[in-house]
Symmetry: C2
Subunit: 358 residues, 2 copies
């Protein structure tokens, strides 16, 4: 009497109706038993669940979303998942999401506004319940407005955005940069370069310029703070952007071999620091004797390189986790005004800072 197990391939999916028919009940009742809602007698429930099992029923989450309007899915848009910073933040968010019963859809923006727009469009089309975004630009915020206009909760992480009514979770970048730079200034350096891959239309950086990435903008502020406090004039000229265009190693080489070479570098992230480190080695320069180097993010290599690199560690995992928590709260209906959470960074001193040799 028992039927053969579901076999073959390519055949139609088993639906609630199929299960209902097999169990000899109505579709509504079968749905109640399968979806675990409403009232169903124990006998019927067993019968339905048995039939479902026998037929190999798998619920269709999309159909469910269609009728309930909730997908139990969050979207996350990062610059590049290959970047350890984003990988860690994503993991932090994924864990919180999973614990709360949410799935995660991931997209890369490549830090490009158009790609970001496409990614956000896809996420909205998939009716995510809310969106986590490391905004490609803190200034051009139309992509973010799209999310808000669509009525979807939005939480920004790592970067804020001007005039966008959304929660954000960021690190205390300005004070972090200040502290990091002070280390160099206090060691006696005057020729200190700040390097970032953030794009900037002008060749030179001016104090009033607005940078597209708020986290970098804040680090630049902190850098300038410390430089100014150290009595260094016109510190803006030591800010070097667009490092991706020129190539980090090339830029570092240029700064280290020019007419007025730098004796210390603040790297805006660990990938940049890696480029600088390689360039220095290539040039035969010894850290910290010939060059002092500090950076953001406690990447793997910074601890095992020789010498160890002094870094400002960020609570990356927490940034992602906290952002996901805020988002889930919004999804669940929290209507309080937007908040900005600022997480502390902490200094890990290693051996990459010394007084300048010239």
């Amino acid at each position: 009497m028992s039927e053969p197990a579901a076999t073959g391939s390519g055949r139609r999916e088993v639906t609630v109706s199929d299960v209902a028919a097999a169990a000899g009940v109505s579709k509504a009742t079968a749905a109640r038993a399968l979806g675990d809602y409403g009232a169903v007698s124990d006998a019927v429930r067993d019968r339905v669940l048995g039939a479902a099992d026998r037929l190999g029923y798998r619920p269709n989450a999309l159909a469910k979303t269609m009728s309930t309007g909730r997908s139990n899915t969050l979207g996350i848009v990062v610059g590049d998942i290959e970047n350890p910073f984003f990988a860690q933040a994503t993991r932090g968010a994924a864990d919180v999401a999973a614990a709360a019963g949410f799935d995660l859809i991931l997209s890369n923006s490549d830090e490009d506004l158009e790609t970001e727009a496409k990614a956000i469009g896809v996420q909205l089309a998939k009716r995510v319940d809310g969106l986590l975004v490391a905004a490609a630009s803190s200034v051009e915020t139309q992509n973010l407005r799209t999310v808000i206009d669509a009525g979807r909760p939005l939480v920004l992480f790592d970067r804020t955005a001007q005039g966008v009514e959304a929660d954000s979770v960021i690190a205390a970048n300005r004070s972090g940069a200040r502290e990091l730079t002070s280390l160099l200034v206090d060691a006696g350096h005057r020729q200190i370069a700040f390097i970032s891959t953030t794009t900037h239309p002008a060749d030179a950086f001016a104090r009033t310029d607005v940078l597209p990435t708020s986290s970098v903008a804040e680090r630049v502020e902190g850098f300038l703070d410390a430089m100014t406090a150290g009595g260094i004039e016109h510190p803006e000229r030591h800010v070097h952007l667009n490092a991706r265009r020129e190539g980090v190693e090339r830029m570092a080489t240029r700064l280290l071999t020019g007419a007025d070479p730098v004796t210390a570098i603040v790297a805006s992230d660990s990938l940049i620091a890696l480029g600088v480190f390689r360039a220095a080695r290539e040039l035969g320069l010894q850290i910290p004797r010939d060059l002092s180097l500090v950076a953001f993010d406690d990447a793997d290599w910074t601890g095992v390189a020789t010498p160890g690199i002094t870094v400002m560690a960020q609570p990356i995992h927490e940034i992602g986790a906290e952002a996901a928590e805020l988002l889930i709260r919004r999804v669940r209906g929290d209507g309080r005004p937007p908040v900005t959470r600022v997480l502390k960074q902490h200094l890990i001193e290693r051996e990459s800072v010394a007084p300048p040799s010239r």
Copy 2:
């Protein structure tokens, strides 16, 4: 006459019907214009598109999937997105997917069968068109069968699975391990440990044991090949598994300080190598004088650590990309028998190998 732009929040989504009404055409016609299929006169199309724009229409991808049966979405299940290997493979897959118009849904399995089952269940419920999986186990394959039974194309990457009818993309791990180990044997080492975090029920490893992760199993084979070729007897006793349970650093410390300390270590991945590197430093051992170390994967740090670590680099990006390509081909209806693509690894010799000092 012009209406106010779509405003407010929380209101119903704009649907095809709304657009149709605003444009004064039927739902069917509006859908044709919006979905760019079927025949629509230019005049009507303009009218519909104009109305859609005015109302802020955003298509509902779920509804589309419901009626077409296609989601244009691939699922990917990795061990842990924070692991650079998986991050890179994911990126490779994401790029290929995006280029072909597919989105990606990501899940972490934590290398755990139950978590993997849940992840795959979610992906299937979301009706992904196909699934990319780095199987948590190459032996217990019920989770993978679930995918096949559901009639969804499946492509495995990094690891194969016994008796599962699916394409796979892996690296030539056995020959890679052989080459890596030979370096040590040829340098004169006899006490060489192979370390992996792969789980294994027994305390000791026996040649006939089947390991849960095929990539590691193959590396062990290659290791044994080279050890045997080098005339080392009972090389199995040098295979150390379950490193996660004990802790990599702890295990390395134990192996380096025991009664019969090892003089060389083959690390099954870069994370393990990092643990070994740290343990060695902690013990005051110098690489390569006191310990020779080789590993899989050309992680960032292996190039900048002192000394540089000799590694077997894998084409990680390509593994992900190739897997996605195969999957998309399957999704599009390719019915050829399953293939296994084996990608070459290549050796990067640095300074972490020297003859044993004892």
